[in-house]
Symmetry: C2
Subunit: 317 residues, 2 copies
């Protein structure tokens, strides 16, 4: 198979990258950094000894340790790949031990709360450039990662206004080397955009799967059997990591509640149309939503294959 | 590629099958019936001359016509593959012209309303056995069909209590020949089950895509760009045929409103948990939903591949 990330870099971008948290994202980074030759040394740090054992068994890093302070000592790039709610504790632990001029970044799905949690713990000689790669799967842990996870996905950076432009530039090159497109915006705008493109969809998906599980008149085995009618699509994102998603909702409260309010209002309109047999309102709503999918496919963010390409239809004709 | 439907039948199950409506489902039936040798003759009937031209160009049937009365004259199996809201008109048109002993069936996503719409137009010498294959893609029209669409999917039959068991048996064999598993239930129970496994998911998906399209603070291009965070999953079913889905909601009102009420109640609970920072409620909800996806995968109704197998991850290790 051709390498989806292309040829390795001629010169590594960093001497020593330390990844804290080796779940889906952290382990994908480790694989991508190595494959692409982005750093000379990779250190994997995780508080869970079982994860460190897997990292060693999989050979994902040059060094693997539960000791964060020792692990980051010589790193010129440190990336927090932990749930958003854990950023505060980790930043407090490592802040004063970061090297002179090091870049600290993260991969959290929420940005304003992370900035607030991390910044107070950092000395002036560290460049904190928050980041969020909009990529993932429903699987978790060090075995779930793969090097091309970020290819053709967007990575949003939310540097502070007075950020060192050289640091922002190096971090952009880092993500571009992994195949991502980089976009800059404010933490607040990020949180609003992601509330609708990611957080609300997850909440809705978790909710409908929960509603289905609670029915008395329809058995769970019927829900499972007849899920191909649409329901199964929702179960994928409702299988995502519970800790990560709890932290997202606790840390992007205002934006999620705002989007949820709009969603509920719109749903009430459809509910009323169903109750009163207003077919035109239903038809109009169901028509205008097609254009958005077309846009997503045209931009390469989605497959045009029927059913997400789950099955390859036979060639009948 | 090996034929997903296996070897053709030794003896056709029917002499002459007439399909009314050659969209995704009708054209998939035409392809499957031919490939599997289920009928000696296939007649394709559609009120749209453009569809009939495509059916002829694709060679999907032995006869293709806009004349429903002539088309069904000699058929021993007639299947309505039209939107649920059109069943009444079509049944009225063809009812008195159906052959002695013919089986009439349909593929509608709603059953009680179809029974009510169709039954009054049928003579006693016709066996009406309603059916609903729980299968589909987000694409529509005669080009979108494929013969293996029903393979390993469920087809629900809702025969009346006094149905001819021989007719039910022949229709079951028909669907099994296409690779489907057949299940029998009452029209009312069908409508309740599908309200949660199919109708509510579609309504939610249409709604969230509509909500996203209406935002002022987040641009449409941002919604599209960052859709890989979860949103794009919803756009697939929100790209389904608007006419079909308008008719589903108009014809399964009570069950959909009941499920929607439960969904909204549950959502209010999550909303409150977010507002008050109740992480335990969020975590518990997000944990119990994983088991349902596991069940769907174990039953072969879903792929276990990450991200629906949209991309094949490189083998890194």
């Amino acid at each position: 198979m051709p390498d989806q990330l292309g040829t390795p870099l001629a010169t590594p971008l960093f001497d020593h990258v330390a990844l804290i948290g080796l779940g889906l994202i952290g382990s994908s980074l480790a694989r991508g950094i190595r494959r692409k030759g982005i750093a000379q040394t990779i250190t994997a740090i995780d508080s869970d000894t079982a994860v460190i054992e897997r990292v060693k068994a999989l050979g994902l890093a040059d060094l693997a340790t539960t000791d964060a302070v020792a692990g980051i000592a010589k790193a010129d790039l440190v990336i927090l790949c932990v749930p958003v709610g854990a950023c505060n504790v980790v930043a407090e632990m490592i802040g004063s031990h970061l090297s002179q001029g090091a870049i600290l970044s993260d991969v959290g799905s929420v940005k304003a709360a992370v900035v607030q949690a991390v910044s107070p713990h950092l000395p002036d000689h560290v460049h904190f450039i928050p980041a969020h790669p909009v990529a993932g799967t429903e699987y978790s842990g060090p075995d779930a990662g793969f090097s091309s996870l970020f290819k053709n996905r967007w990575c949003i950076l939310t540097p502070p206004d007075d950020a060192d432009s050289e640091a922002v530039n190096r971090l952009s090159l880092f993500w571009e080397a992994l195949g991502a497109n980089v976009e800059l915006m404010s933490p607040q705008h990020h949180d609003l955009v992601l509330a609708v493109t990611s957080h609300l969809p997850h909440l809705i998906a978790y909710n409908i799967v929960g509603t289905a599980a609670d029915l008395e008149t329809v058995t769970q085995s019927e829900v499972i059997k007849f899920s191909a009618g649409g329901f199964r699509d929702f179960t994928r994102i409702a299988a995502s990591d519970p800790t990560m998603w709890r932290d997202v909702f606790l840390n992007n409260r205002e934006a999620v509640l705002e989007m949820l309010g709009r969603f509920t209002e719109d749903l009430a309109l459809l509910q009323r149309a169903i109750r009163w047999g207003d077919g035109d309102t239903l038809f109009d709503t169901f028509t205008r939503t097609r254009a958005i999918r077309r846009g997503i496919i045209d931009l390469g963010q989605e497959t045009a294959a029927p059913d997400f390409g789950r099955r390859t239809p036979e060639q009948d004709q």
